[in-house]
């Protein structure tokens, strides 16, 4: 286990342009109602790399993403974004970090009183005030075209399918041109074809934008497709981290069982 993790860390450090990972988590611990959902988690992701976090339901995968963007605060440990520990930041300081992170929620979390186009325009209206309305509209059209939703600008979120909502959520997450992308179950609840399309979309975005991405998923096939590295969480700890081949070669019982059942 330690060997695979160490190898992964060395590999990350070697491929990082600046030497500082975009996202670095150390000894992260989060307790809910007396139960340690995350207990000493260490992870890091560099520019252009994608880490897939796998694990059983309730093992704290989504909590990990919420900690990375500051929606939850850690009980101990650090969450560093571009080398800056975000745990000590006030809400408005945290905002500056959040502008550099795109977040796709598990259920897309689109604003249900706004149209598809307004949803994508929302971050631009608040953080790109120097852009004219027509520039913002062009940017929204471009983003929605990237995710294949350019025909549905005026639809309400309730009028589109779950897969389409995920696409719009992804376009919204990309609106501020983030350097880090956090994806919470991007293919959950989707049919295999839609899942494949979302995976292709994520791969395309990675190639074009070179973001550091962390993807939480149950879908091992999807994780293999889009991620350079995979980490498996169990009982609040990262039991293994490495390439898919590292996972296959592991003799850890839980990892073997997880791969067998997936």
């Amino acid at each position: 286990m330690a060997t695979a993790y160490d190898n992964a860390m060395k590999q990350e450090a070697a491929t990082d342009d600046s030497g500082v990972p975009f996202v670095a988590v150390e000894n992260l611990r989060k307790v809910f109602a007396g139960r340690a959902v995350l207990d000493g988690v260490n992870l890091s992701v560099s520019r252009g790399k994608t880490l897939a976090v796998l694990g059983r339901s309730g093992t704290g995968k989504s909590v990990l993403l919420r900690l990375l963007i500051g929606l939850e605060r850690p009980d101990s440990g650090s969450v560093c974004i571009h080398g800056q520990d975000i745990a000590g930041l006030a809400l408005d300081q945290l905002g500056e970090i959040r502008k550099r992170i795109g977040f796709l929620f598990q259920h897309a979390a689109l604003y249900d009183s706004l149209t598809v186009a307004e949803n994508v325009a929302f971050p631009l209206q608040h953080h790109r005030k120097e852009m004219s309305k027509s520039e913002q509209a062009d940017r929204v059209n471009q983003l929605l075209a990237e995710v294949g939703m350019e025909e549905d600008l005026e639809k309400m979120p309730s009028d589109i399918s779950g897969g389409m909502q995920k696409r719009v959520g992804l376009a919204r997450a990309l609106a501020l041109e983030p350097e880090i992308l956090l994806l919470d179950e991007p293919t959950a609840g989707l049919d295999p074809i839609s899942s494949g399309e979302i995976d292709e979309l994520i791969l395309k975005l990675q190639r074009e934008r070179m973001m550091a991405s962390i993807v939480v998923t149950h879908n091992l096939h999807s994780a293999r497709t889009i991620a350079n590295r995979l980490a498996i969480l169990n009982e609040g700890k990262v039991v293994i981290q490495g390439s898919f081949e590292d996972l296959q070669q592991s003799d850890i019982g839980f990892v073997k069982e997880f791969l067998k059942q997936s």
């Binding site: 919420r66 963007i69 605060r73 440990g77 745990a87 930041l89 006030a90 959040r98 259920h107 919204r172």
Partner: protein
């Protein structure tokens, strides 16, 4: 918790206060639970208020959302408030005429109506009507946004939800309540006079001059302006209830109900204090 954790806990701006659902019957069964729940609720309300205040006074200001909320709270409540004010005017007119006739003080009718509507009933009725309409609306809307992670999405987009969602709604309530009260008062006086003239003709000019004779600003301004405090209570309580919701559709329903019930209750309790305050400082 290690040093770093303690530092983080001390300096981190807390997310929306988490709620431990207080089960009232269970809390009564265990007296400590009721006391804990009471102080926990007010403690969280205090933290929430501080976050909203900080967000409200620091830029960027959410002018567009504020204007939308002014329309939502003000214009859209106007018909309901006007109707309630009109009904109260008729009721007071009927009751006052009957009571004053018994004591041979019919000449006091205009002043009784004016003072009853403007000083007592107009502000309270407006507050309660707005509490029902706007309080429930805000509570349910924000609760729905909370349980569908829309508030988290706003925060993840580097937008302060206390500023965008709470401060704008609370400010709209504070600004609109006095204006709506004036509208309710106006409708109440108009329908009260009209109900009187059906029985005993009285010109509107005579009614107004007699009703307001000897009146000062102190008699009418503080009771109208006190509704800004009602607005603060309605906005604050309903935003707080909405933004701390958990538990899906049931949670949304609970938030809407609690918003109305608590806002109305606090509004009436505040009225007791405010009336005493006005009597002491604006005799």
């Amino acid at each position: 918790m290690n040093d770093r954790g303690q530092t983080a806990a001390a300096s981190f701006s807390p997310p929306l206060p988490e709620r431990r659902i207080v089960d009232i019957p269970a809390a009564i069964a265990s007296p400590g639970g009721l006391v804990d729940g009471f102080f926990e609720w007010f403690g969280n309300l205090g933290i929430f208020s501080w976050q909203v205040l900080k967000a409200a006074v620091t830029p960027p200001y959410e002018w567009r959302e504020l204007i939308r909320q002014l329309d939502e709270v003000g214009s859209k409540s106007l018909p309901l408030v006007a109707l309630a004010g009109a009904a109260i005017g008729v009721v007071i007119s009927l009751e006052a005429r009957y009571s004053l006739s018994r004591f041979g003080a019919k000449s006091m009718f205009p002043a009784t109506l004016v003072y009853s509507v403007i000083q007592v009933m107009g502000p309270v009725i407006t507050g309660l009507v707005v509490s029902g309409r706007v309080g429930a609306g805000i509570g349910a809307e924000l609760a729905s946004m909370k349980v569908t992670e829309q508030i988290d999405a706003i925060e993840a987009s580097a937008i302060n939800p206390y500023r965008l969602l709470a401060a704008t709604r609370i400010l709209a309530c504070i600004l609109m309540l006095p204006l709506l009260t004036v509208a309710a008062d106006g409708c109440g006086l108009l329908t009260g006079w009209f109900a009187q003239t059906l029985v005993e003709p009285l010109s509107f000019q005579q009614f107004i001059s007699s009703g307001f004779s000897g009146a000062t600003f102190n008699a009418f301004l503080p009771p109208t302006l006190k509704t800004a405090v009602y607005g603060l209570i309605i906005g604050l309580v309903s935003c707080f209830q909405g933004m701390r919701t958990r538990g899906g559709a049931a949670g949304v329903g609970r938030a809407a109900t609690n918003s109305v019930v608590l806002a109305s209750l606090f509004l009436i309790l505040a009225d007791v204090v405010l009336v005493k305050f006005i009597l002491v400082f604006f005799p």
